[in-house]
Symmetry: C2
Subunit: 361 residues, 2 copies
């Protein structure tokens, strides 16, 4: 059994089902449609189960605040604007990001079933939560799933001083025989924005190399990064260690999710609690049988992963593959509950009081 983050007495363990029920209660009390509430809850739960604390319970408040401010359309009329046998473009009508993203990936999967590939873009959407959720929908159906999104501009371009590009994450999910799926779910910045929020909430300094203060100097203060500074792209400051690669990936995701879909690119993406954040997403499903029988493929994925894991590790270290730690963490947490930070539990209980549903704990 494995726990990714340091979990101490400042965390309260909550059974997954209780947390799910709680999210749905709060969201439906706020007039979110039941089916949509369930998808948002799923997304938060998957994040917390897999140890991605930045996108779990601590993120719920953002959605609640946006809904209360009325900046999210709770009865969106999701339209298919373009469509062929292998692609589609959806207009999310400014609704919650998770339900339209779920629909988009399921549509991509349908297309890939019949025609080998499905590529579905979304515009006029909002924050979609954890990208891996949608890629796993494809993996559950024995396909390769790729999900991407624009985000608010919180990252400097290489040599830049100002926030101008997004943390634009990509998640690539791939089925593997007898093992947890391969799931690479990564921001194209050094770390996701939620990580800064987490360190801020815990009053802890961030490692050097994650972000800049307002003068463009490396800082260890998460508050400075979040208030006046900016995050660094994967590869870090300048070009020496490949910072232009993280920046380039971020722009490529802007092009696919923001420019191609007629949403906006990260520079103009708004926070969910501002009107019309206009986030864009892209979902791709690949039918493995197009290239090779899926069972052979999964067997070969297993062998590839075993090859890497078998290679020599540094002293006291172990070699993991993407998605493996998350799957182990989920196994544990399904048994003993999801640890929620005490301040987040207080926040959630506050929401319960406001909307008149039962407290979380």
């Amino acid at each position: 059994m494995f726990e990714k983050v340091e979990v101490d007495e400042s965390y309260i363990r909550i059974p997954k089902d209780r947390l799910e029920e709680f999210y749905i209660n709060v969201l439906t009390a706020l007039s979110v449609q039941k089916e949509d509430a369930r998808i948002v809850a799923d997304n938060l739960i998957i994040a917390d189960l897999r140890g991605i604390e930045s996108h779990g319970a601590q993120r719920f408040g953002r959605y609640v605040r946006a809904i209360k401010k009325g900046t999210v359309n709770l009865k969106p009329d999701i339209k298919i604007e373009k469509e062929s046998q292998v692609h589609a473009l959806l207009d999310g009508d400014e609704g919650l990001g998770q339900p339209v993203s779920y629909k988009a990936m399921m549509l991509a999967i349908e297309k890939a079933k019949e025609n080998f590939i499905g590529m579905v873009g979304v515009r006029n959407s909002n924050h979609f939560g954890i990208a891996g959720h949608y890629s796993l929908l494809a993996v559950d159906r024995d396909m390769i799933g790729i999900s991407m999104t624009t985000t608010r501009p919180l990252v400097v371009p290489t040599w830049g001083l100002e926030r101008a590009v997004g943390t634009n994450p990509i998640a690539i999910g791939i089925p593997v025989k007898d093992k947890p799926p391969f799931l690479l779910d990564m921001a194209t910045s050094v770390v996701a924005t939620g990580k800064f929020e987490l360190y801020k909430r815990k009053n802890k300094p961030i490692p050097e190399g994650w972000g800049l203060d307002g003068r463009g100097e490396i800082t260890t203060d998460p508050n400075k990064v979040l208030s006046e500074g900016a995050e660094l792209p994967l590869g870090g400051l300048g070009e020496l260690l490949g910072g232009h690669k993280g920046y380039g990936l971020s722009l490529a995701i802007d092009a696919l999710c923001g420019v191609l879909t007629n949403a906006t690119w990260s520079k103009w993406v708004k926070n969910t609690d501002e009107k019309r954040s206009n986030v864009g997403h892209m979902f791709i499903a690949i039918n493995i049988d197009a290239f090779t029988p899926v069972e052979d493929f999964k067997e070969r994925m297993k062998r590839m992963i075993e090859d890497v894991k078998r290679s020599k590790a540094m002293k006291g270290k172990k070699i993991w593959y993407p998605g493996e730690k998350g799957a182990f963490t989920a196994e544990t947490r399904l048994k003993i509950g999801i640890p929620v930070y005490h301040k987040v539990v207080e926040e959630l209980n506050g929401f319960a009081r406001e909307v008149g549903v039962e407290r979380l704990v």
Copy 2:
């Protein structure tokens, strides 16, 4: 006008056309078919024009040695093993990587013209040179082009001590109105292997953070990395600054290019001068008109790029977008010639002598 690398008197400027003619002369003298020789030459020239010295003239020797050793099939029978309206799988029959890659991307483009998306995998191939070459074929036809490949295993997985994954590059090309195309062409390691070879050839220390020596310590000696050590994934050592992301991207490319295509994954990829290197590639073309009129898209790409370039830069620095420096470098070099390092010129003249064609200069 702009020059990316330090070019001094140890370089000799050679007109692009002369270099192209020279490559074709040597290759055809070695029994490479004329059309294939032209594609290999194009690939080398594009690299050198764009300032990617690691994949230009200095790389030619590798192909020549492989051909002379007889490990590359010069009369490959390239077969389409699987095919639909939107995808195909080609068997490269152990021929040169560049010609089959060119065919594969052109096939992907054909499919995308008719059916919006084209995804073509290749197995039984060899080193395909610079990935950007193929993505630009799509860009030239107003499409988005994505190219990837497995490589030899020269990179450590996160926390690993042994070479176990590839530098597995990806190139994403996107057309832009009135500007050079967006072209992100990146190894998923901190830098490409050719960069180590370049520093070795010039007897220069590499920056800290590019590679490890045989004991797993950071080294500045390119010889140690190339002989006994290993390269680091993008994001560097461990997980603190995202090394698991570069490693994860490398494995994802292994899955798409090596596992899905029934080639092998990087762990078992051989050098081109060993028998059956069995490299795998993947090429994707996306028809922009599927989602939005291509002229609108290009206009919006231009605006996105201008937004980023307009943001505040660090003192004395400028903000570039992927592909921009390369395009400026190419403009200069088309006018005043491609600088080739004196030792590389000697090597090329040596090949000319061996196969009985005119010296380069």
